[in-house]
Amino acid sequence: MASPSRSRFGKLFDEIGTVDQVGIDERVAKFTTRSIKKGSKLWGLKTAVTMVDLTTLEGKDTPGKVASLCQKARRPSSDPDVPPVAAVCIYSFLVKYARQWLADTPIKVASVATAFPSGQAPLETRLEEVRMAVGDGADEIDMVINRGLFLAGEFQAVQDEIAAVVEACGDAALKVILEVSELETFDNIRAASFLAMQVIREGDFIKTSTGKASGSATLANNQVMLEAIRDFYLATGKAIGMKPAGGIKNSKMALHFLVAVKETLGDAWLNNSRYRFGASSLLNDLVRAIDKEKSGAYQAPYYYTEAAESY
């Protein structure tokens, strides 16, 4: 097994290039020294709100919790200046409730499917889950790739599975979760990004993590994937979106991620059709930071309603 898979990786790396960890860490450290103040800060915070996929993915989720989440998604703050979020992201069996609560809003219903988070179910079961979620009204599907096949070097099989999900999605947009912490190296994250991008459609996304494994969205992971998206776009003209998920807890981090987008992919990616944050607690911190910019003072956390946290 070792030798054929190794040569497959070698071939892929030759094709798409490799990543140096020290260099990536140095590059992203520069993003964190950007000083974002005043008007530019407010713009960044509001834009980040519009990019949030407000998420609840717990075993104890209920239709009632989804109702609460949807209300928070529509009105994250009592300040009417704060825009609604991009989407709510939930388990597939809850899609029909969210659809109901978000009728007549531009907010998308995103559903994790394909035996999230492990993906360890037969392909036909996973595809059936996707079809059911779409049938219940999901606008977007978040799938996980088959990490076992990827690490074994079975790239064609990985791509075939993604392609099958694309087909099952129909008109729904697809977000392909690489689960970066299980891919071990930056080289592999770049490789998996390319494999996914080659079979998904313009407007689909690649996504860092499920949020269920240790080590998820970091600036460095995000940067490797942004650079993959850039190189792929410049070579093919196909613009793929990006969604870091898991671990982006506060507004300062979110601004660093947006700086990375601005300076790597440029203005065309600074909107929620090409960039999303998979998060729950981030939203209240963004709202709180917006209030602070306007009033000059931080409010106590209990002023902010918890939609996804306190159940």
Binding site: D20, G23, E26, L234, K262, E263, L270
Partner: protein
Amino acid sequence: MTSTRPVSRGGSPSVPELIFGDLWQYDPAPETADPRIKLRYDLFIGGKFVAPKSGKYFSSINPANEQIITEIALANKNDVDAAYSAAAKAFTSWSKLPGRERGKYLYRIARLIQDRAREFAVAETMDGGKPIKESRDFDIPMAAAHFFYHAGWADKLEYAVPGANIIPLGVVGQVIPWNFPLLMLAWKIAPALAMGNTVVLKPAETTSLTALKLGEILQEAELPPGVVNFICGAGETGAALVAHPTAAKIAFTGSTDVGKIIMRQLAGTDKKLTLELGGKAANIVFDDSPVDQAVEGVVNGIFFNQGHVCCAGSRLLVQESIAELFVEKLKRRIDVLRVGNPLDKNTDVGAINSRDQLDKICELVDSGTAGGAEMYQSKCDLPTTGFYFKPTIFTGVTQSHRIAKEEIFGPVLSILTFRTLEEAVEKANNTAFGLSAGVWTDKGSRILKMSTLLKAGVVWANTFNKFDPSSPFGGYKESGFGREGGRQGLMDYGKIA
């Protein structure tokens, strides 16, 4: 699988391109710490600020806006005499002080620099034009680090050369450049003092401010009077300092031209000499390198401190098979460099140090375009006052272009290509200089091979412009001789008794 190498941009309008526009602009974020600059600075001789015997003062301007920031005393021959006699007087007791006592003073200086780091960073940026994030994150912390490192050596000199007794040289005359004013000062003073020498130092005439501010720190640290003396002025003052009979050693960092003059001046005397001069470093990128990180390293190598770096990677040698891709990526990268007010925390490339230097850069760049090399400049706007130059790259450069041979000392990169390792080495070594080089490749064995073949004092692998007080720095050929930093640098300030 489709080809994933980006295609060349320009040409047909359907070619995809990124938009680095103004959708999200960063608001100004100026560093506001008070630099505490006096209206006028005297010479620092014998532990006191004293009026110059010349009676003259010259203005120091902020290259970012051409405004005068302070007046600085001009030292003539008599002032140089006074400084040397103060240093000679101090040498008697300083050199006999136990090493651990000298070390205490050096630790104290290092800590006081850290205490006033923000103030010094702002002063350095206003005086020299470098971006605040560099003076804040590199210059000032590294200057403190050099004092800390050499403080550690002061009481361990008997272990520097086992079995031998190392003694100081005497009074050392030092002349430093304007690109890293406080850091070069630390590189010079810290090892000299650790070894037990006393010092007469002349900062560059455009950047004397932080040296004189350090004079205040030396007073606060209660360093014995005369151990360190600062005299200011231009070439004439420097010549008097170098020629002075009291000097046991001259240490110079600056241009190769001046270095040669100093060598002639010292010929036939028993003065020791170390020179750290110009460079024209090659950054060599092989086709198996991680391209984006190599691009980042090349940008860091040439645009750090506006290219006012003697070890700047001013020649890019890129393997032919990836040259086109590499240059495209490089262009996109320099388009997002932020050029402007050096005090803004988001500025990547600041102001050129002086009008003279700006003129020199323009002259060399013109020679490049006149010689048929193709120029690309970043799409940034420059401030209307002050001295600025756009990040610039030249393609189609040959070995015989002036921009490939002469040190530009500005944000200008000359790009050449190569096919084989042998050709890369030949081109890299085909220069009068030999200060530094960079190698970018995934192959460890190739790095080791290149590091022995390249005639350069420092060879960085898969990184560039990395410094540490414990790592000796210095050149081959016309880049000078002697080392600074590490045990080797220390030994250049002592002799075996």
